[in-house]
């Protein structure tokens, strides 16, 4: 995965990712239109398919609304790299097939940088600066979810196993 970076800070919560005033729908396209609206008005307008969100600690804290990762995925974002993630956001993202990477060195990545993330090793290359970082490898179960495309396919697979 290779794309342009949108940089965010600590504790980006689900209320700013997708404000509650838009929760009266669960249509991904509609939600994407308002993604990050309360924190960066340009995001929804300018984000391109394949771009990558990079943030600091506790990304996605707050409510359990799956609308948050759905709006991010529908806006075209390929993956998110952060120092840490809030846990419900973490499971929601993998469940819908949006991969997340935990990397403690995200302060060395800037808005607009081009980075490349290796999904199986967790290696992150900052093409703009030439630096490389290592994210925590995705646990095998999560890797399986991402490979299958999310919990939907996993459920189908499980129903055959059990």
């Amino acid at each position: 995965m290779k794309g342009k970076v949108w940089k965010f800070k600590n504790n980006v919560d689900t209320d700013v990712i997708i404000p509650a005033r838009y929760l009266n729908t669960s249509d991904p396209g509609e939600l994407a239109k308002h993604c990050m609206e309360d924190i960066n008005l340009n995001f929804a307008k300018k984000v391109k398919k394949g771009d990558i969100i990079v943030a600091e600690e506790n990304f996605g804290c707050g409510s359990s609304r799956e609308h948050a990762p759905i709006s991010i995925k529908a806006s075209g974002i390929a993956c998110i790299v952060a120092k840490s993630f809030a846990r419900i956001f973490y499971r929601n993202s993998f469940n819908i097939g949006l991969p997340l990477f935990e990397c403690k060195e995200t302060d060395k990545i800037k808005e607009g940088d081009i980075i490349e993330v290796n999904i199986s090793t967790g290696e992150i290359k900052n093409i703009s600066t030439g630096e490389t970082f290592q994210a925590l490898p995705i646990p095998p179960f999560m890797q399986e979810l991402v490979n299958l495309g999310g919990l939907e396919s996993y459920a189908k697979k499980l129903s055959k196993e059990i």
Binding site: N11, D15, G62, R87
Partner: protein, 420 residues
């Protein structure tokens, strides 16, 4: 192997995997629930994978967020949930008139019991830990998966043990203990972890206060919070007519990620400043600042229970809100509503100039019944004061217990009942 309560409950439900901290397991869930915002996505998921419910007795659907329907779009969402409930004959579905806020309604209906493994498509599902259950918030897709399979994946969390000692001071409630705790460890202080609340001050803590404390575990990033069930739990279960569950205790030598001791006697009522629940400050410090308010809200799954309304009434009795302040009071369930009415609390509230709404989440998430305009300031007994949480992204929300919120409504600024 020595285990914590959290591990013991998970172990009891394991289908695949082992109970070591950090492992991912597949486990049976005893109850999976969702609300009007989250259920439509779960229902859609269920339909996409074949549409069969694993066990309709083990699910609950609670349309509480935007009900009675606040606009056409939310009406459509509620309609999806209602039709699904009717078609599938779901026993635990409540229509407007019977419905209350999920985290207050489910314990009241006797559906949350010690030892249960509970997943809810709402982050405040952790509230159920007050009854000694492992209750954790998940996403809609998770709940769709649980609806279909009766199972869910979990990462076995490490546990932080909090030991509360000493006597609570005047006007100090469960809300203040938890705001103080979050202030101490921060909004990511318990990220991915279970919080176990123990110590002499918890053993005697009333159930309503325990529920308030566990409710806000997620505000510290916690996966769940658990209080070891005891006589107070038993009493509560008797009152709501729940048959007893399994009363787990952590092993003496269980391994904790951290042990934090808190002296309750030094805790004053706490106010969390905008825009994070961790910005907790003691009331004595806040009183000096003269923070004028436009709205006071008493309600939500954190503090809309009967004991909360009683303490608010105690303070509002014979008093009137400041003429500039809108005072909004929302009992969390119809049962609480009726009881408050019977006890004469509504007269006190109405005399004080409050407006009382039917049970709903309403203003807590900036839905309806008290959305804030830009520049407005609110004191609220809810659990979150994020940017835009109660309406305008330019509004300011301060979190407190109901005694402080009631007193502030009278004073017109954030203050203590002692100032009245």
């Amino acid at each position: 192997m020595s285990l914590t309560i959290a591990q013991k409950i998970l172990q009891h439900h394991i289908v695949k995997g082992n109970i070591n901290v950090g492992e991912i397991i597949l486990a049976r869930v005893d109850l999976a629930f969702a609300n009007d915002v989250t259920a439509p996505i779960s229902i859609d998921f269920l339909k996409r994978i074949g549409g069969k419910l694993y066990d309709k007795e083990k699910i609950a659907l609670i349309p509480d967020h935007f009900t009675p329907n606040k606009d056409i779009k939310s009406a459509e969402q509620c309609k999806i949930v209602r039709e699904f409930a009717e078609q599938n004959n779901i026993p635990h579905y409540w229509e407007v008139g019977d419905v209350g806020i999920e985290h207050v309604l489910l314990p009241e209906k006797g559906l949350i019991k010690p030892g249960m493994l509970i997943a809810g498509a709402d982050s405040h599902t952790c509230t159920g830990g007050a009854l000694g259950a492992f209750a954790t918030g998940v996403g809609s897709t998770d709940i769709g998966f649980a609806f279909a399979t009766g199972m869910l994946w979990f990462k076995v969390p490490p546990t932080i043990k909090f030991i509360y000692e000493g006597k609570r001071g005047k006007w100090v409630m469960g809300k203040d203990l938890i705001l103080y705790t979050i202030g101490k460890i921060g909004v990511s202080g318990a990220l991915y972890k279970a919080m176990e609340f123990t110590g002499p001050a918890i053993k005697n803590l009333p159930m309503d206060d325990r529920l308030t404390m566990c409710n806000m575990a997620i505000e510290a990033g916690g996966k769940t919070a658990i209080v070891e069930p005891n006589d107070i739990t038993k009493q509560y279960l008797n009152v709501v007519g729940a048959k007893e569950g399994i009363f787990y205790k952590s092993d003496e030598d269980a391994e904790y990620d951290d042990i934090i001791e808190i002296d309750v006697s030094i805790i004053e009522p706490q106010i969390a400043f905008p825009h994070l629940p961790e910005n907790a400050k003691p009331i004595s410090e806040v009183m000096k600042k003269d923070i004028k308010i436009d709205q006071a809200f008493i309600g939500s799954c954190t503090n809309g229970r009967l004991s909360d309304l009683r303490i608010a009434a105690k303070i509002l009795k014979g008093r009137k809100r400041d003429k500039h302040v809108r005072l909004i009071i929302i009992p969390s369930t119809p049962l609480i509503y009726r009881q408050a009415l019977k006890e004469g609390l509504f007269d006190i509230f109405l005399d004080a100039g409050a407006v009382i709404s039917a049970p709903t989440c309403g203003p807590c998430l900036g839905g309806h019944m008290g959305v804030l305009a830009s520049g407005e300031v609110a004191i609220s007994t809810t659990n979150r004061n994020f940017v835009g949480r109660m309406g305008s992204p330019e509004a300011y929300v301060y979190l407190s217990n109901p005694a402080i919120a009631a007193a502030s409504a009278v004073l017109g600024k954030i203050g203590s009942p002692d100032e009245l």
